[in-house]
């Protein structure tokens, strides 16, 4: 997803010379091409995220369109008040880009795990929250953000995520993408749980359950009509995210369903409410939190029909 992001951002910067890129000393070699093409629009601000976000706000208020970049916790939690006050409060046209959603930096331990960002970003007034699920969605998200004006958060995976969409996709901010038809239930997935969601649906299909799979790369604003239709047509909904079960995408869907007053069964898949003191790669942590496709399929097959 990282490569797709840079490719799309470079293309966008070619079209829009207001786009500037700031990194907090992360992305070795990744941005060499961008920096060579746009030497006056690339800034490594050092390991100083709070300053980076404030500087981006200042640039945005003067007419530039900054994208700021670091690993998710450092790009979001570390400088959260700068995002809230300097960006959101000022309605500054800044996109915060976090690399390493969920357990993408698994081996690096909890300081690098990204399990709270969706929750804290989506509560900010005026904040758009995008969590693309594969490289195609990532490029579409950057194209959408290039047209967008205002505070935004883009949550990426890392590198080597499977390409789920067979070809180019496009979405407007707030739109979801249907990946699989079905009326026995609905999987709503955001971010890098896309591939596991599709796999879980295949496993359920083998057991005779035809499950609808909808990718929701926009967590805010939520695609309410699609959620409402899924609730009415399929009876149950499961949400998937590589993020805490508290406060994130599943919570947003739960709020939406409660507001709609729909009597639908809901199951939220996400990270459990504890830190992982054991080292492991992404697959290890997914399994530890019940997020492997087979675990999801089993839980839904036995628990929600």
């Amino acid at each position: 997803m990282r490569t797709a992001f840079i490719r799309a951002l470079t293309a966008a910067a070619q079209e829009d010379e207001r786009i500037v890129f700031l990194t907090a000393d992360l992305g070795y070699k990744l941005f060499d091409d961008f920096a060579a093409r746009f030497p006056n629009r690339f800034f490594n601000v050092g390991v100083a995220e709070a300053n980076m976000v404030g500087v981006a706000s200042g640039l945005a208020l003067e007419g530039w369109k900054p994208f700021v970049y670091s690993i998710v916790p450092f790009a979001t939690l570390r400088c959260y008040e700068q995002i809230r006050n300097d960006v959101a409060y000022h309605e500054a046209d800044v996109t915060v880009v976090g690399v390493g959603g969920g357990f993408s930096y698994g081996h690096n331990g909890p300081t690098h795990h990204a399990l709270e960002d969706i929750a804290v970003l989506r509560v900010l007034p005026g904040m758009t929250v995008l969590c693309p699920g594969d490289p195609q969605e990532t490029e579409a998200a950057v194209r959408a953000l290039a047209r967008h004006r205002g505070p935004a958060y883009l949550r990426l995976g890392r590198a080597g995520e499977p390409v789920v969409h067979p070809g180019r996709v496009d979405f407007r901010i707030g739109e979801s993408l249907l990946l699989r038809e079905g009326n026995d239930g609905t999987l709503l997935t955001t971010g890098n749980m896309l591939a596991p969601a599709v796999r879980a649906a295949e496993l359920l299909g083998e057991r005779g359950l035809q499950v609808r799979v909808i990718s929701m790369p926009t967590v805010k604003p939520l695609d309410v009509p699609t959620i409402e239709r899924a609730a009415r047509e399929t009876g149950w909904i499961a949400t998937l995210e590589e993020h805490s079960r508290l406060g994130g995408f599943g919570a947003a869907v739960a709020e939406c369903l409660a507001d709609l007053g729909l009597p639908v069964r809901l199951r939220r898949f996400g990270a459990q409410d504890h830190f992982s003191h054991t080292c492991g790669d992404q697959a290890f942590h997914r399994e530890a939190h019940g997020l492997a496709p087979a675990q999801i399929a089993d839980a839904l097959h036995s628990g929600l029909r």
Partner: protein, 276 residues
């Protein structure tokens, strides 16, 4: 304290070789990044754990007069190897480094690693925690010193300087900051990425008793660490000029080794150079 004898010096140098060899083995086995960041701080850690600190694996951690925080958590291979060499845990644990199910992740956890109390990995946290621990000792009128190791890139973080002002304002002369000034941070030379220089003057202007040393000269390291606090009523900063990748010629001063794990051939060459 007794002066560093030539036997004592030889012993420390031998420990440094052992720890360096462990570091490159871990990086090779785990295909882990940050080998350069670990190698630059080996001599500082060895001096602390084998000469300077009154810290004993046989005691409960809180009963140790001297304590340490690794604020540059990405340098943890050197820390783990030093803790193992000092007897906090067995060398076999090092072999699990970065494996699924291990307690030794690529940044230190506060849970499960004997001898390690503080989890780090996000830069700019350790100095504040160390300052709090140093204040706690002052409040208890407890002797001993709190050491903390920072990277140079880490000094970009504003929180470092909040902690520095706090420590100076509270007169925490039981706090000793070591900066592993290896001149390279994740995307470039630390003297160029931001206006980091003059780094030692920054610490002294923040009212730290400050010295600059060669961070690979064991006598200089020991002298500085044993002399701290340099001024009564002030925290101490030791700005240690180091070389990223120190001890393995082809890793030295090369940013590639912030990322690249050693191949089989790299490992063999590195171990031959390190000796030990």
């Amino acid at each position: 304290m007794t002066a560093l004898s030539s036997d004592g010096l030889d012993g420390l140098l031998q420990r440094s070789r052992e720890v360096r060899a462990s570091v490159v083995r871990m990086a090779h086995r785990a295909k882990s990044p940050h080998v350069g960041s670990a190698l630059s701080s080996v001599d500082l850690l060895v001096a602390l754990y084998f000469r300077v600190m009154d810290i004993d694996p046989a005691r409960k951690m809180l009963q140790n007069p001297d304590r340490f925080v690794l604020s540059k958590g990405h340098g943890c291979m050197a820390y783990y190897a030093t803790l193992a060499a000092r007897g906090f845990f067995g060398p076999e644990l090092l072999e699990t480094y970065s494996r699924n199910g291990s307690v030794l992740a690529e940044h230190p956890s506060p849970v499960g690693i004997p001898g390690c109390e503080i989890g780090t990995g996000s830069l700019g946290h350790g100095l504040s925690i160390a300052a709090g621990a140093a204040l706690a000792r002052k409040l208890r009128r407890q002797p001993g010193r709190q050491f903390v190791l920072l990277s140079d890139g880490e000094c970009n973080e504003g929180s470092v300087w909040e902690a520095a002002m706090f420590a100076a304002g509270r007169g925490l002369d039981n706090l000793v900051v070591l900066v592993d000034y290896n001149k390279l941070q994740a995307m470039g030379r630390s003297d160029e990425v931001t206006g980091l220089p003059p780094l030692a003057k920054k610490w002294s202007s923040f009212s730290f008793g400050t010295v600059e040393i060669d961070g690979h000269s064991m006598p200089e390291i020991v002298r500085a660490l044993e002399a701290a606090p340099f001024e009564k009523g002030r925290p101490s900063a030791i700005v240690a000029h180091t070389v990223k990748g120190k001890g393995v010629s082809f890793m030295e001063n090369d940013l590639e080794w912030h990322y690249r794990p050693p191949s089989d051939a790299d490992l063999a060459r590195a171990l031959a150079e390190i000796g030990g």
